[in-house]
């Protein structure tokens, strides 16, 4: 929590234009502008996106009962992007909200499809399943690329391929707020998700409507993911590593681990964002690159650790 506050403050005061905490007391017009139009929206969107993606990953891992399933490794992100492309093609001047709806529908369908594939896979090896998910995602992604080339939208597409907070400004990120009520909903469902994570038979024994809970979980994931993809872009690995790290020290009781996951997700991405902003100062490295590099390192570590502990 403390880390989040410190990093948040740092995030506000790091940038091309120097603003020091002292300036807050006698803000000049343009500095106030920078704060309100650029820095604050950026901070808010980073936090929401970080929380959203890690919580989505957590829910997906719980529902699929696989530690390596996340929006990145289950085709959810790719499906959402395909949805955005379709909305661009079908309604050229679509409002962001409409785009998000279409992206949501696609993300939902894609994730459902993946879960259906999962049900049919007999060979339930923990590593095998996310590999299937990645392949599945790549297939969808190549469909998107094909149409994007055909209709000359490849430039637009890559904007959603790369997560980037540098373009976040007032008026361009508010769609992210859509995910907040759904994150709250996820917390309210935490107990049910945990029971569902114990499997269908276990859920039935405890009188839980398993299918309905899974459906609600996937709807939350699809909605939240598409709102993030549309405003910020793709942030890889976040939904994969954060829940796994939290699981190590908090266990998998969602009521307990969900707040921690949300917090750590925000801290981690904020840290990556600040790092990306200072490494090549005054230029920026996009967030998907920093998260990708740091995240994949942590991911490899988690894999090795898993082998060492035999779990």
């Amino acid at each position: 929590m403390l880390a989040l506050i410190i990093l948040s403050l740092a995030s506000i005061f790091i940038g091309v234009k120097d603003i020091t905490p002292l300036d807050l007391f006698h803000l000049s017009e343009d500095k106030a502008q920078i704060l309100l139009v650029s820095r604050l929206p950026r901070l808010i969107s980073i936090i929401i996106a970080g929380v959203s993606m890690s919580v989505c990953g957590l829910i997906m891992q719980q529902l699929s009962r696989n530690k390596f399933v996340s929006p990145t490794t289950a085709g959810t992100l790719d499906s959402a992007r395909l949805g955005i492309l379709v909305s661009l093609m079908a309604f050229a001047t679509a409002s962001p909200f409409l785009k998000m709806l279409v992206a949501f529908v696609f993300a939902l369908l894609g994730t459902f499809l993946f879960m259906k594939i999962l049900e049919r896979i007999k060979f339930r090896d923990t590593i095998f399943i996310p590999l299937v998910g990645l392949m599945f995602g790549n297939i969808i992604s190549s469909i998107s690329t094909f149409f994007a080339y055909k209709y000359d939208l490849i430039q637009n597409m890559s904007a959603w391929l790369q997560g980037d907070f540098s373009l976040i400004m007032k008026g361009r990120y508010e769609l992210l707020y859509v995910s907040i009520p759904f994150l709250v909903l996820a917390y309210l469902f935490a107990n049910k998700f945990t029971v569902a994570g114990m499997g269908e038979e276990f859920s039935k024994n405890l009188g839980l409507n398993y299918k309905q809970v899974v459906r609600i979980g996937l709807i939350i994931v699809a909605l939240v993911t598409s709102s993030v993809v549309l405003t910020v872009g793709t942030i890889p690995f976040l939904g994969l590593i954060i829940p796994n790290i939290v699981s190590i020290y908090q266990g998998d009781h969602l009521k307990k681990s969900l707040p921690h996951t949300a917090l750590l997700g925000a801290v981690f991405i904020l840290f990556c964002d600040i790092l990306g902003r200072i490494i090549l100062y005054p230029y920026e490295i996009s967030i998907s690159l920093t998260v990708g590099v740091i995240g994949s390192g942590i991911f490899v570590y988690l894999l090795m650790r898993r082998r060492a502990h035999g779990v």
Partner: protein, 252 residues
Amino acid sequence: MVEAKHVSKLYAGKKVIDDVTVTIGKGKITSFIGPNGAGKSTLLSMISRLISKDAGHIYIDGKELGQWKSGDLAKKISILKQSNHISLRLTVRELVSFGRFPYSQGKLSKEDGRYVEEAIRYMELEEMQHKYLDQLSGGQRQRAYIAMVIAQNTEYILLDEPLNNLDMKHSVQIMKILKRLVDELGKTIVIVIHDINFASCYSDTIVALKAGKIVREGTPDEMMDPVVLREIYEMEMKIETVDNHKICIYFS
């Protein structure tokens, strides 16, 4: 009382349960025995509504299974399957608390807390209640699952091979606990069990299945008989009486 009347189950056109009628008396331990593939686990799963039946009726306290609300049934009957592959990192206490889910939907009241406390004490898990399940041995984990079922506080408890993967000491421990649950708390317990000597020593009724049908049922005294056992298992067995229990010698 649990009654199954003319129930059948088909898998790919083959009858794995074929017109089975059985009544399970209250306040007793009933053991389902029989060779592999006899349909014991399938029957148990059908009684506990984990899998659907293709024909027949199952009544719990006189009410057909389909008439029960899922949430109410979860307070009446509980089942523990042999394949408890919970991959979640939960502590023993958290797992046992989920036994109260049918009553609390996750928000534990004081009363729920008491049941959890009691179940943990009953299974002697106090010392390890804050450990994660993956840190426990097979026997401890099995005890934790049974504690969860005790916290669920259902009248009927169905256990599918509760002794699977347990050594002798832990097997005896579990069976003694089941006996206590019946004697002290008045539970009705149905188990699927492979070791017929455990069935003989601890159950009140033994139901023998073979190829989807019930071939015999009776008290351990009636069932532990060379002729009966030959019919069930198609092998010769010797019966000895040790401390008033009939023990079957089947190793040669």
